[in-house]
Protein backbone atom coordinates (compact mmCIF):
# COMPACT_ATOMS: atom_id res chain seq x y z
CA UNK A 1 0.00 0.00 0.00
CA UNK A 2 1.96 2.91 -1.32
CA UNK A 3 -0.71 5.40 -0.35
CA UNK A 4 -0.14 4.90 3.37
CA UNK A 5 3.38 6.26 2.99
CA UNK A 6 2.10 9.55 1.64
CA UNK A 7 -0.38 9.70 4.52
CA UNK A 8 2.41 9.15 7.04
CA UNK A 9 4.40 11.96 5.45
CA UNK A 10 1.40 14.28 5.60
CA UNK A 11 0.83 13.41 9.25
CA UNK A 12 4.47 14.09 10.16
CA UNK A 13 4.28 17.48 8.43
CA UNK A 14 1.01 18.29 10.23
CA UNK A 15 2.48 17.37 13.61
CA UNK A 16 5.53 19.57 12.97
CA UNK A 17 3.29 22.45 11.86
CA UNK A 18 1.17 21.94 14.98
CA UNK A 19 4.25 22.16 17.22
CA UNK A 20 5.43 25.31 15.43
CA UNK A 21 1.99 26.88 15.78
CA UNK A 22 1.92 25.95 19.44
CA UNK A 23 5.28 27.60 20.10
CA UNK A 24 4.30 30.62 18.02
CA UNK A 25 1.04 30.85 19.94
CA UNK A 26 2.64 30.97 23.36
CA UNK A 27 5.40 33.33 22.22
CA UNK A 28 3.00 35.97 20.91
CA UNK A 29 0.95 38.24 23.10
CA UNK A 30 0.63 41.73 24.49
CA UNK A 31 3.88 41.30 26.40
CA UNK A 32 7.00 40.46 24.46
CA UNK A 33 8.89 37.50 25.91
CA UNK A 34 12.09 36.24 24.25
CA UNK A 35 11.85 32.72 22.82
CA UNK A 36 14.67 31.56 25.06
CA UNK A 37 12.76 32.53 28.19
CA UNK A 38 9.58 30.91 26.88
CA UNK A 39 11.37 27.58 26.68
CA UNK A 40 12.69 28.12 30.19
CA UNK A 41 9.19 28.77 31.58
CA UNK A 42 7.65 25.84 29.81
CA UNK A 43 10.31 23.44 30.99
CA UNK A 44 9.99 24.71 34.57
CA UNK A 45 13.17 26.77 34.73
CA UNK A 46 13.14 30.36 35.88
CA UNK A 47 13.24 32.93 33.07
CA UNK A 48 14.80 36.39 33.34
CA UNK A 49 11.67 37.93 34.83
CA UNK A 50 9.32 35.97 37.07
CA UNK A 51 6.19 37.67 35.69
CA UNK A 52 7.03 36.08 32.36
CA UNK A 53 6.82 32.65 33.91
CA UNK A 54 3.47 33.57 35.43
CA UNK A 55 2.13 34.82 32.09
CA UNK A 56 3.28 31.72 30.26
CA UNK A 57 2.18 29.16 32.81
CA UNK A 58 -1.12 30.61 33.89
CA UNK A 59 -2.26 32.44 30.83
CA UNK A 60 -0.66 31.47 27.54
CA UNK A 61 -0.24 27.73 28.08
CA UNK A 62 -3.85 27.09 29.18
CA UNK A 63 -5.02 29.26 26.30
CA UNK A 64 -2.95 27.33 23.78
CA UNK A 65 -4.20 24.02 25.13
CA UNK A 66 -7.78 25.28 25.02
CA UNK A 67 -7.25 26.29 21.39
CA UNK A 68 -6.01 22.78 20.58
CA UNK A 69 -8.96 21.13 22.32
CA UNK A 70 -11.49 23.48 20.73
CA UNK A 71 -10.11 23.19 17.20
CA UNK A 72 -9.65 19.45 17.20
CA UNK A 73 -12.91 18.76 19.04
CA UNK A 74 -15.06 20.91 16.76
CA UNK A 75 -13.39 19.48 13.68
CA UNK A 76 -14.02 15.92 14.83
CA UNK A 77 -17.64 16.60 15.78
CA UNK A 78 -18.22 18.25 12.39
CA UNK A 79 -16.77 15.22 10.64
CA UNK A 80 -19.04 12.88 12.60
CA UNK A 81 -22.12 14.96 11.77
CA UNK A 82 -21.28 15.15 8.07
CA UNK A 83 -20.96 11.38 7.84
CA UNK A 84 -23.96 10.59 10.03
CA UNK A 85 -26.29 12.93 8.17
CA UNK A 86 -24.63 12.19 4.82
CA UNK A 87 -24.53 15.91 4.22
CA UNK A 88 -21.47 18.04 3.50
CA UNK A 89 -23.24 21.07 5.00
CA UNK A 90 -23.69 19.48 8.39
CA UNK A 91 -21.76 20.62 11.42
CA UNK A 92 -22.43 21.42 15.04
CA UNK A 93 -23.72 24.90 14.13
CA UNK A 94 -25.90 24.01 11.19
CA UNK A 95 -27.79 21.39 13.16
CA UNK A 96 -28.36 23.69 16.07
CA UNK A 97 -26.13 22.10 18.70
CA UNK A 98 -24.48 25.39 19.41
CA UNK A 99 -27.75 27.27 19.48
CA UNK A 100 -28.97 24.66 21.93
CA UNK A 101 -25.94 25.44 24.05
CA UNK A 102 -26.65 29.16 23.66
CA UNK A 103 -30.20 28.61 24.85
CA UNK A 104 -28.97 26.74 27.90
CA UNK A 105 -26.49 29.50 28.74
CA UNK A 106 -29.06 32.21 28.05
CA UNK A 107 -31.48 30.51 30.43
CA UNK A 108 -28.80 30.46 33.11
CA UNK A 109 -27.46 34.01 32.66
CA UNK A 110 -30.62 35.84 31.57
CA UNK A 111 -33.25 33.57 33.02
CA UNK A 112 -32.13 34.05 36.59
CA UNK A 113 -33.95 37.40 36.70
CA UNK A 114 -37.15 35.75 35.50
CA UNK A 115 -37.09 32.62 37.57
CA UNK A 116 -35.48 34.48 40.44
CA UNK A 117 -35.12 33.36 44.03
CA UNK A 118 -33.83 29.89 44.63
CA UNK A 119 -32.60 29.41 41.08
CA UNK A 120 -30.61 32.64 41.04
CA UNK A 121 -28.67 31.57 44.07
CA UNK A 122 -27.29 28.48 42.47
CA UNK A 123 -27.07 29.67 38.90
CA UNK A 124 -24.45 31.73 37.09
CA UNK A 125 -21.41 29.90 38.28
CA UNK A 126 -19.01 28.68 35.67
CA UNK A 127 -20.22 25.14 36.22
CA UNK A 128 -23.89 25.87 35.80
CA UNK A 129 -23.04 27.49 32.47
CA UNK A 130 -21.09 24.42 31.44
CA UNK A 131 -23.88 22.05 32.44
CA UNK A 132 -26.58 24.18 30.85
CA UNK A 133 -24.66 24.41 27.59
CA UNK A 134 -24.07 20.66 27.48
CA UNK A 135 -27.68 19.84 28.28
CA UNK A 136 -28.95 22.35 25.74
CA UNK A 137 -26.78 20.99 22.95
CA UNK A 138 -27.65 17.39 23.79
CA UNK A 139 -31.39 18.08 23.79
CA UNK A 140 -31.33 19.91 20.47
CA UNK A 141 -29.24 17.23 18.80
CA UNK A 142 -31.52 14.53 20.19
CA UNK A 143 -34.62 16.29 18.85
CA UNK A 144 -33.01 16.67 15.44
CA UNK A 145 -32.23 12.95 15.52
CA UNK A 146 -35.74 11.93 16.57
CA UNK A 147 -37.14 13.93 13.68
CA UNK A 148 -34.51 12.55 11.33
CA UNK A 149 -35.62 9.01 12.17
CA UNK A 150 -39.03 9.83 10.78
CA UNK A 151 -37.81 11.71 7.74
CA UNK A 152 -35.30 10.18 5.39
CA UNK A 153 -34.59 13.28 3.34
CA UNK A 154 -31.33 14.81 4.50
CA UNK A 155 -32.23 18.29 3.29
CA UNK A 156 -35.31 18.16 5.48
CA UNK A 157 -33.14 17.33 8.48
CA UNK A 158 -30.96 20.31 7.70
CA UNK A 159 -33.97 22.60 7.53
CA UNK A 160 -35.25 21.17 10.79
CA UNK A 161 -31.88 21.92 12.37
CA UNK A 162 -32.18 25.50 11.13
CA UNK A 163 -35.71 25.71 12.55
CA UNK A 164 -34.42 24.59 15.93
CA UNK A 165 -31.80 27.34 15.71
CA UNK A 166 -34.54 29.87 14.94
CA UNK A 167 -36.65 28.69 17.85
CA UNK A 168 -33.76 28.90 20.28
CA UNK A 169 -32.74 32.29 18.88
CA UNK A 170 -36.30 33.51 19.44
CA UNK A 171 -36.35 32.28 23.02
CA UNK A 172 -32.98 33.93 23.62
CA UNK A 173 -34.44 37.20 22.26
CA UNK A 174 -37.37 37.00 24.63
CA UNK A 175 -35.03 36.29 27.53
CA UNK A 176 -32.79 39.20 26.49
CA UNK A 177 -35.79 41.52 26.51
CA UNK A 178 -36.32 40.80 30.19
CA UNK A 179 -32.64 40.60 31.13
CA UNK A 180 -30.70 43.40 32.80
CA UNK A 181 -27.94 45.29 30.96
CA UNK A 182 -25.29 43.56 33.00
CA UNK A 183 -26.69 40.12 32.26
CA UNK A 184 -26.97 40.96 28.59
CA UNK A 185 -23.35 42.02 28.50
CA UNK A 186 -22.34 38.81 30.21
CA UNK A 187 -24.30 36.78 27.67
CA UNK A 188 -22.94 38.71 24.68
CA UNK A 189 -19.37 38.30 25.91
CA UNK A 190 -19.99 34.58 26.21
CA UNK A 191 -21.20 34.69 22.60
CA UNK A 192 -17.93 36.25 21.40
CA UNK A 193 -16.15 33.09 22.37
CA UNK A 194 -13.00 33.06 24.41
CA UNK A 195 -10.09 30.72 24.71
CA UNK A 196 -8.30 32.53 27.48
CA UNK A 197 -10.60 32.33 30.46
CA UNK A 198 -9.83 28.86 31.71
CA UNK A 199 -7.81 27.98 34.77
CA UNK A 200 -5.87 24.73 34.88
CA UNK A 201 -8.63 23.16 36.99
CA UNK A 202 -11.33 24.05 34.51
CA UNK A 203 -9.11 22.91 31.69
CA UNK A 204 -8.79 19.58 33.49
CA UNK A 205 -12.54 18.98 33.55
CA UNK A 206 -12.80 20.19 29.96
CA UNK A 207 -10.07 17.74 28.99
CA UNK A 208 -11.75 14.78 30.70
CA UNK A 209 -15.12 15.29 28.97
CA UNK A 210 -13.34 16.02 25.72
CA UNK A 211 -11.43 12.75 26.04
CA UNK A 212 -14.64 10.78 26.58
CA UNK A 213 -16.12 12.37 23.45
CA UNK A 214 -12.98 11.72 21.46
CA UNK A 215 -12.80 8.13 22.69
CA UNK A 216 -16.38 7.53 21.56
CA UNK A 217 -15.54 8.97 18.15
CA UNK A 218 -12.57 6.61 17.87
CA UNK A 219 -14.82 3.71 18.84
CA UNK A 220 -17.13 4.80 16.02
CA UNK A 221 -14.41 4.70 13.35
CA UNK A 222 -15.60 1.41 11.88
CA UNK A 223 -19.27 2.32 11.88
CA UNK A 224 -18.47 5.73 10.35
CA UNK A 225 -16.69 4.04 7.48
CA UNK A 226 -19.57 1.60 7.05
CA UNK A 227 -22.06 4.48 7.04
CA UNK A 228 -20.26 5.88 3.99
CA UNK A 229 -22.15 3.23 2.01
CA UNK A 230 -25.53 4.44 3.24
CA UNK A 231 -27.70 3.00 5.98
CA UNK A 232 -29.19 0.05 4.11
CA UNK A 233 -25.78 -1.22 3.07
CA UNK A 234 -24.45 -0.58 6.57
CA UNK A 235 -27.29 -2.65 8.01
CA UNK A 236 -26.59 -5.45 5.53
CA UNK A 237 -23.00 -5.47 6.76
CA UNK A 238 -24.22 -6.25 10.26
CA UNK A 239 -23.93 -2.73 11.68
CA UNK A 240 -26.39 -1.91 14.44
CA UNK A 241 -27.48 1.45 13.08
CA UNK A 242 -29.32 2.65 16.17
CA UNK A 243 -26.48 1.96 18.59
CA UNK A 244 -23.78 3.39 16.35
CA UNK A 245 -25.88 6.45 15.66
CA UNK A 246 -26.42 7.02 19.35
CA UNK A 247 -22.71 6.70 20.11
CA UNK A 248 -21.87 9.16 17.34
CA UNK A 249 -24.43 11.62 18.64
CA UNK A 250 -23.30 11.34 22.23
CA UNK A 251 -19.71 11.82 21.10
CA UNK A 252 -20.63 14.93 19.11
CA UNK A 253 -22.72 16.48 21.81
CA UNK A 254 -20.03 15.87 24.42
CA UNK A 255 -17.39 17.47 22.21
CA UNK A 256 -19.41 20.35 20.76
CA UNK A 257 -21.37 20.85 23.97
CA UNK A 258 -18.38 21.18 26.30
CA UNK A 259 -16.45 23.28 23.84
CA UNK A 260 -19.34 25.70 23.52
CA UNK A 261 -19.72 25.62 27.27
CA UNK A 262 -16.10 26.43 28.06
CA UNK A 263 -15.09 28.54 25.07
CA UNK A 264 -18.38 29.91 23.77
CA UNK A 265 -19.87 29.32 20.34
CA UNK A 266 -16.96 29.09 17.90
CA UNK A 267 -18.26 29.47 14.37
CA UNK A 268 -17.09 27.81 11.19
CA UNK A 269 -14.44 25.37 12.49
CA UNK A 270 -16.77 22.39 12.81
CA UNK A 271 -18.11 22.77 9.28
CA UNK A 272 -14.95 23.68 7.43
CA UNK A 273 -12.11 21.72 8.99
CA UNK A 274 -13.36 18.35 7.69
CA UNK A 275 -13.59 19.79 4.16
CA UNK A 276 -10.12 21.30 4.35
CA UNK A 277 -8.77 17.98 5.61
CA UNK A 278 -10.49 16.07 2.82
CA UNK A 279 -8.77 18.36 0.32
CA UNK A 280 -5.39 17.51 1.84
CA UNK A 281 -5.82 13.78 2.27
CA UNK A 282 -8.24 13.16 -0.59
CA UNK A 283 -9.95 10.21 1.09
CA UNK A 284 -13.18 9.39 2.87
CA UNK A 285 -11.60 6.81 5.14
CA UNK A 286 -12.20 7.95 8.71
CA UNK A 287 -9.11 6.19 9.98
CA UNK A 288 -7.12 8.78 8.03
CA UNK A 289 -9.60 11.65 8.25
CA UNK A 290 -10.18 11.61 12.00
CA UNK A 291 -6.53 12.12 13.04
CA UNK A 292 -6.16 14.52 10.10
CA UNK A 293 -9.12 16.60 11.22
CA UNK A 294 -7.82 16.47 14.78
CA UNK A 295 -4.41 17.90 13.88
CA UNK A 296 -5.68 20.33 11.29
CA UNK A 297 -8.40 21.68 13.57
CA UNK A 298 -5.86 22.32 16.31
CA UNK A 299 -3.51 24.09 13.88
CA UNK A 300 -6.21 26.36 12.45
CA UNK A 301 -7.49 27.24 15.90
CA UNK A 302 -4.00 28.18 17.13
CA UNK A 303 -3.49 30.38 14.07
CA UNK A 304 -6.89 32.02 14.55
CA UNK A 305 -6.02 32.69 18.17
CA UNK A 306 -2.73 34.31 17.14
CA UNK A 307 -4.60 36.64 14.83
CA UNK A 308 -7.26 37.39 17.45
CA UNK A 309 -4.49 38.46 19.82
CA UNK A 310 -3.43 41.15 17.31
CA UNK A 311 0.33 40.70 17.82
CA UNK A 312 2.10 43.46 19.71
CA UNK A 313 -1.10 45.16 20.79
CA UNK A 314 -3.38 45.10 23.81
CA UNK A 315 -6.48 44.17 21.83
CA UNK A 316 -8.04 40.75 21.81
CA UNK A 317 -10.64 40.35 19.11
CA UNK A 318 -13.59 37.96 19.53
CA UNK A 319 -12.28 34.56 18.47
CA UNK A 320 -15.73 33.62 17.14
CA UNK A 321 -15.49 36.33 14.48
CA UNK A 322 -11.89 35.56 13.56
CA UNK A 323 -12.55 31.88 12.81
CA UNK A 324 -15.09 32.84 10.15
CA UNK A 325 -13.17 35.83 8.81
CA UNK A 326 -10.01 33.83 8.29
CA UNK A 327 -11.48 30.44 7.57
CA UNK A 328 -14.34 31.04 5.17
CA UNK A 329 -12.21 32.62 2.42
CA UNK A 330 -9.76 29.73 2.77
CA UNK A 331 -12.53 27.21 2.11
CA UNK A 332 -13.80 29.21 -0.86
CA UNK A 333 -10.28 29.38 -2.23
CA UNK A 334 -9.75 25.65 -1.76
CA UNK A 335 -12.99 24.79 -3.51
CA UNK A 336 -12.36 27.14 -6.40
CA UNK A 337 -8.86 25.81 -6.82
CA UNK A 338 -9.88 22.15 -6.70
CA UNK A 339 -13.07 22.75 -8.71
CA UNK A 340 -14.98 20.16 -6.75
CA UNK A 341 -16.43 19.45 -3.37
CA UNK A 342 -15.20 16.14 -2.09
CA UNK A 343 -17.47 14.27 0.23
Amino acid sequence: MTTYKTYVRAFIILIIVLLCCFILNISLGSVYIPLNDIFKSVTGNIPEQETWQYIIQNYRLPKAFTAILVGSGLGVSGLLMQTLFRNPLAGPFVLGISSGASLGVALVILGSSIFGGFLAAFLVTKWSIVIAASLGSFLVLLSVLVVSLKIRDTMAILIIGLMFSSITAAIVSVLSYFGSAQQLQQYIFWGFGSLGNLSWNELGIFFIIYCIGLLLSILSLKSLNTLLLGENYAKSLGLNIKTSRLIIIISTSLLAGTITAFAGPIAFIGLAIPHMTRQIFNTSNHKILLPGVFLFGAIVMLICDNIAQVPNSDYTLPINAITSLIGAPVVVWLLVKKQKMIF
Binding site: Y233, G238, T283, N285
Partner: protein, 264 residues
Amino acid sequence: MKHDNQNIILKTDQLSIGYTSKKKQNIIASNINISIKKGQLIGLIGANGIGKSTLIRTLSNVQNPLKGDIFINNKIMNQYNGLELAKVMSLVLTENVSSKNLSVFELVALGRQPYTNWVGSLSENDIEKVNQALEYTNISNLKDSTCFELSDGQLQKVMLARALAQDTELIILDEPTTHLDMYHKAYILKLLQKLTQETGKTIIFSSHEIDLAIQLCDTVIVMTDDGVISDQPSNLIAKGVFNSLFPKDLIAFDEKSGSFKVKK
Protein backbone atom coordinates in the same frame (compact mmCIF):
# COMPACT_ATOMS: atom_id res chain seq x y z
CA MET B 1 -37.91 -34.47 1.74
CA LYS B 2 -35.28 -33.86 4.36
CA HIS B 3 -32.56 -33.99 1.77
CA ASP B 4 -34.51 -31.43 -0.19
CA ASN B 5 -34.61 -29.01 2.71
CA GLN B 6 -30.86 -29.05 3.11
CA ASN B 7 -30.49 -27.97 -0.47
CA ILE B 8 -32.72 -24.96 -0.02
CA ILE B 9 -31.10 -21.73 1.05
CA LEU B 10 -34.08 -19.40 1.06
CA LYS B 11 -37.74 -20.19 1.52
CA THR B 12 -40.79 -18.03 2.11
CA ASP B 13 -43.91 -19.22 3.85
CA GLN B 14 -47.19 -17.39 3.13
CA LEU B 15 -45.24 -14.15 2.80
CA SER B 16 -47.12 -10.86 2.43
CA ILE B 17 -45.17 -7.80 1.43
CA GLY B 18 -45.99 -4.11 1.33
CA TYR B 19 -45.87 -1.01 3.45
CA THR B 20 -47.39 0.05 6.71
CA SER B 21 -48.40 3.66 6.92
CA LYS B 22 -50.44 5.16 9.74
CA LYS B 23 -51.54 1.74 11.01
CA LYS B 24 -52.95 0.92 7.59
CA GLN B 25 -51.34 -1.94 5.76
CA ASN B 26 -50.80 -1.46 2.09
CA ILE B 27 -50.38 -5.01 0.80
CA ILE B 28 -48.58 -5.21 -2.52
CA ALA B 29 -48.41 -8.99 -2.87
CA SER B 30 -49.43 -11.83 -0.60
CA ASN B 31 -49.25 -15.62 -0.23
CA ILE B 32 -45.78 -15.77 -1.71
CA ASN B 33 -44.33 -19.26 -1.36
CA ILE B 34 -41.00 -19.73 -3.03
CA SER B 35 -38.03 -21.94 -2.28
CA ILE B 36 -34.65 -21.26 -3.73
CA LYS B 37 -32.07 -23.97 -4.22
CA LYS B 38 -28.42 -23.51 -3.43
CA GLY B 39 -26.02 -22.64 -6.25
CA GLN B 40 -28.63 -21.31 -8.63
CA LEU B 41 -28.97 -18.06 -10.52
CA ILE B 42 -32.48 -16.76 -9.97
CA GLY B 43 -34.11 -13.93 -11.87
CA LEU B 44 -37.11 -12.07 -10.51
CA ILE B 45 -39.24 -10.47 -13.20
CA GLY B 46 -42.54 -8.68 -13.43
CA ALA B 47 -44.14 -5.50 -14.71
CA ASN B 48 -43.47 -2.09 -13.19
CA GLY B 49 -45.24 -1.59 -9.88
CA ILE B 50 -45.99 -5.27 -9.33
CA GLY B 51 -43.71 -5.31 -6.25
CA LYS B 52 -40.39 -6.71 -7.46
CA SER B 53 -38.43 -4.16 -5.54
CA THR B 54 -40.57 -4.62 -2.45
CA LEU B 55 -40.04 -8.37 -2.57
CA ILE B 56 -36.28 -7.94 -3.03
CA ARG B 57 -36.16 -5.44 -0.18
CA THR B 58 -38.15 -7.78 2.04
CA LEU B 59 -36.02 -10.82 1.22
CA SER B 60 -32.90 -8.77 1.88
CA ASN B 61 -34.18 -7.55 5.27
CA VAL B 62 -34.21 -3.90 4.22
CA GLN B 63 -37.91 -3.81 5.11
CA ASN B 64 -40.05 -6.12 7.22
CA PRO B 65 -42.63 -8.55 5.85
CA LEU B 66 -46.25 -7.76 6.69
CA LYS B 67 -47.07 -11.40 7.30
CA GLY B 68 -45.43 -14.79 6.94
CA ASP B 69 -41.86 -15.91 7.37
CA ILE B 70 -38.63 -15.97 5.47
CA PHE B 71 -36.32 -18.89 6.17
CA ILE B 72 -32.64 -18.75 5.41
CA ASN B 73 -30.91 -22.09 5.74
CA ASN B 74 -34.02 -23.35 7.54
CA LYS B 75 -33.80 -20.65 10.20
CA ILE B 76 -36.27 -17.78 10.39
CA MET B 77 -34.60 -14.56 9.29
CA ASN B 78 -35.65 -12.65 12.42
CA GLN B 79 -33.65 -15.08 14.53
CA TYR B 80 -30.40 -14.03 12.92
CA ASN B 81 -28.65 -11.08 14.48
CA GLY B 82 -27.27 -8.42 12.15
CA LEU B 83 -23.76 -9.80 12.07
CA GLU B 84 -24.83 -13.42 11.50
CA LEU B 85 -27.05 -12.37 8.63
CA ALA B 86 -24.23 -10.28 7.15
CA LYS B 87 -22.17 -13.45 6.87
CA VAL B 88 -24.92 -15.31 4.98
CA MET B 89 -26.38 -12.67 2.71
CA SER B 90 -24.94 -9.68 0.88
CA LEU B 91 -26.72 -7.04 -1.15
CA VAL B 92 -26.41 -4.83 -4.18
CA LEU B 93 -29.10 -2.17 -3.95
CA THR B 94 -30.29 0.46 -6.39
CA GLU B 95 -29.34 3.32 -4.11
CA ASN B 96 -26.04 5.08 -4.59
CA VAL B 97 -23.38 4.86 -1.94
CA SER B 98 -23.34 8.03 0.17
CA SER B 99 -19.71 8.85 -0.41
CA LYS B 100 -18.29 8.56 -3.88
CA ASN B 101 -14.87 9.68 -2.76
CA LEU B 102 -13.90 6.16 -1.70
CA SER B 103 -11.37 4.35 -3.83
CA VAL B 104 -12.56 1.15 -5.47
CA PHE B 105 -10.35 -0.90 -3.19
CA GLU B 106 -11.64 0.88 -0.07
CA LEU B 107 -15.25 0.41 -1.12
CA VAL B 108 -14.84 -3.28 -1.90
CA ALA B 109 -12.90 -3.72 1.34
CA LEU B 110 -15.91 -2.38 3.27
CA GLY B 111 -17.50 -5.71 2.34
CA ARG B 112 -15.12 -7.28 4.85
CA GLN B 113 -16.60 -5.28 7.76
CA PRO B 114 -18.44 -8.25 9.34
CA TYR B 115 -15.11 -10.04 9.75
CA THR B 116 -12.80 -7.23 10.83
CA ASN B 117 -11.91 -6.02 14.33
CA TRP B 118 -13.30 -2.94 16.10
CA VAL B 119 -11.44 -0.40 13.95
CA GLY B 120 -11.95 -2.41 10.79
CA SER B 121 -8.31 -3.27 10.05
CA LEU B 122 -7.88 -5.66 7.15
CA SER B 123 -6.01 -8.89 7.79
CA GLU B 124 -4.02 -10.58 5.04
CA ASN B 125 -6.94 -12.92 4.51
CA ASP B 126 -9.28 -9.94 4.12
CA ILE B 127 -6.99 -8.32 1.56
CA GLU B 128 -6.81 -11.58 -0.36
CA LYS B 129 -10.60 -11.86 -0.44
CA VAL B 130 -10.89 -8.28 -1.67
CA ASN B 131 -8.36 -8.92 -4.43
CA GLN B 132 -10.19 -12.11 -5.39
CA ALA B 133 -13.45 -10.19 -5.64
CA LEU B 134 -11.75 -7.56 -7.80
CA GLU B 135 -10.39 -10.27 -10.09
CA TYR B 136 -13.70 -12.08 -10.41
CA THR B 137 -15.38 -8.88 -11.52
CA ASN B 138 -12.46 -7.89 -13.74
CA ILE B 139 -11.79 -4.54 -12.11
CA SER B 140 -8.35 -5.09 -10.56
CA ASN B 141 -7.05 -2.35 -12.85
CA LEU B 142 -9.51 0.15 -11.32
CA LYS B 143 -8.38 -0.61 -7.75
CA ASP B 144 -7.01 2.88 -7.06
CA SER B 145 -9.60 4.91 -8.97
CA THR B 146 -12.12 6.92 -7.04
CA CYS B 147 -15.76 5.96 -7.39
CA PHE B 148 -16.94 9.23 -8.91
CA GLU B 149 -14.61 8.66 -11.86
CA LEU B 150 -16.35 5.42 -12.80
CA SER B 151 -19.02 4.75 -15.41
CA ASP B 152 -22.32 3.17 -14.38
CA GLY B 153 -21.18 -0.20 -15.68
CA GLN B 154 -17.92 -0.06 -13.76
CA LEU B 155 -19.68 1.09 -10.62
CA GLN B 156 -22.09 -1.84 -10.81
CA LYS B 157 -19.13 -4.22 -11.02
CA VAL B 158 -17.60 -2.51 -7.99
CA MET B 159 -20.80 -2.96 -6.00
CA LEU B 160 -20.91 -6.61 -7.04
CA ALA B 161 -17.27 -7.01 -6.00
CA ARG B 162 -18.13 -5.52 -2.61
CA ALA B 163 -20.89 -8.10 -2.18
CA LEU B 164 -18.48 -10.86 -3.25
CA ALA B 165 -15.89 -9.69 -0.73
CA GLN B 166 -18.53 -10.12 1.97
CA ASP B 167 -18.12 -13.83 1.23
CA THR B 168 -21.73 -14.95 1.65
CA GLU B 169 -23.61 -17.94 0.30
CA LEU B 170 -26.40 -15.73 -0.94
CA ILE B 171 -26.21 -12.50 -2.93
CA ILE B 172 -29.30 -10.44 -3.66
CA LEU B 173 -29.23 -7.73 -6.31
CA ASP B 174 -31.97 -5.17 -6.93
CA GLU B 175 -32.10 -4.30 -10.63
CA PRO B 176 -28.36 -4.63 -11.30
CA THR B 177 -28.81 -3.87 -15.01
CA THR B 178 -30.57 -0.49 -14.93
CA HIS B 179 -28.70 2.40 -16.59
CA LEU B 180 -26.47 -0.08 -18.43
CA ASP B 181 -26.16 -0.51 -22.19
CA MET B 182 -27.08 -3.80 -23.81
CA TYR B 183 -23.55 -5.16 -23.73
CA HIS B 184 -23.04 -4.38 -20.05
CA LYS B 185 -26.45 -5.79 -19.15
CA ALA B 186 -25.45 -9.08 -20.70
CA TYR B 187 -21.97 -8.78 -19.19
CA ILE B 188 -23.23 -8.35 -15.63
CA LEU B 189 -25.80 -11.14 -15.87
CA LYS B 190 -23.31 -13.47 -17.54
CA LEU B 191 -20.88 -12.67 -14.73
CA LEU B 192 -23.56 -13.58 -12.18
CA GLN B 193 -24.09 -16.88 -13.98
CA LYS B 194 -20.35 -17.57 -13.97
CA LEU B 195 -20.22 -16.84 -10.24
CA THR B 196 -22.98 -19.29 -9.38
CA GLN B 197 -21.32 -21.96 -11.49
CA GLU B 198 -17.78 -21.42 -10.24
CA THR B 199 -18.26 -20.50 -6.61
CA GLY B 200 -21.52 -22.27 -5.82
CA LYS B 201 -23.08 -19.06 -4.54
CA THR B 202 -26.80 -18.49 -4.85
CA ILE B 203 -27.65 -15.23 -6.60
CA ILE B 204 -31.08 -13.64 -6.79
CA PHE B 205 -31.61 -10.55 -8.92
CA SER B 206 -34.58 -8.55 -10.09
CA SER B 207 -34.56 -7.27 -13.63
CA HIS B 208 -36.58 -6.03 -16.56
CA GLU B 209 -34.33 -7.95 -18.95
CA ILE B 210 -36.75 -10.83 -19.43
CA ASP B 211 -35.08 -12.32 -22.51
CA LEU B 212 -31.65 -12.29 -20.84
CA ALA B 213 -33.11 -13.80 -17.67
CA ILE B 214 -34.74 -16.57 -19.69
CA GLN B 215 -31.43 -17.37 -21.36
CA LEU B 216 -29.21 -17.27 -18.28
CA CYS B 217 -31.19 -18.14 -15.15
CA ASP B 218 -31.66 -21.56 -13.61
CA THR B 219 -34.94 -20.44 -12.14
CA VAL B 220 -37.13 -17.46 -12.93
CA ILE B 221 -39.58 -16.03 -10.43
CA VAL B 222 -42.43 -14.28 -12.21
CA MET B 223 -44.64 -11.81 -10.36
CA THR B 224 -48.05 -11.27 -11.91
CA ASP B 225 -51.37 -9.97 -10.64
CA ASP B 226 -52.48 -13.56 -10.16
CA GLY B 227 -49.56 -14.51 -7.92
CA VAL B 228 -45.94 -15.45 -7.84
CA ILE B 229 -44.68 -18.42 -9.86
CA SER B 230 -41.18 -19.82 -9.88
CA ASP B 231 -39.86 -22.49 -12.21
CA GLN B 232 -37.26 -23.23 -14.84
CA PRO B 233 -37.53 -20.78 -17.75
CA SER B 234 -38.45 -23.52 -20.27
CA ASN B 235 -41.32 -24.75 -18.09
CA LEU B 236 -42.57 -21.21 -17.63
CA ILE B 237 -42.60 -20.70 -21.38
CA ALA B 238 -44.47 -23.97 -21.85
CA LYS B 239 -47.06 -22.88 -19.28
CA GLY B 240 -47.49 -19.62 -21.13
CA VAL B 241 -46.74 -17.52 -18.04
CA PHE B 242 -44.97 -14.78 -19.96
CA ASN B 243 -48.04 -14.14 -22.11
CA SER B 244 -49.93 -12.87 -19.10
CA LEU B 245 -47.12 -10.68 -17.84
CA PHE B 246 -48.09 -7.46 -19.58
CA PRO B 247 -51.26 -5.99 -21.10
CA LYS B 248 -51.70 -7.52 -24.53
CA ASP B 249 -52.26 -4.40 -26.64
CA LEU B 250 -48.65 -3.57 -27.52
CA ILE B 251 -46.27 -6.48 -27.13
CA ALA B 252 -46.54 -10.26 -27.36
CA PHE B 253 -44.27 -13.04 -26.16
CA ASP B 254 -42.66 -15.10 -28.89
CA GLU B 255 -42.13 -18.60 -27.53
CA LYS B 256 -39.62 -19.61 -30.20
CA SER B 257 -37.13 -16.83 -29.56
CA GLY B 258 -37.99 -16.48 -25.86
CA SER B 259 -38.41 -12.73 -26.14
CA PHE B 260 -41.06 -10.06 -26.54
CA LYS B 261 -41.93 -8.58 -29.92
CA VAL B 262 -43.75 -5.34 -30.67
CA LYS B 263 -47.09 -5.97 -32.39
CA LYS B 264 -47.32 -4.55 -35.91
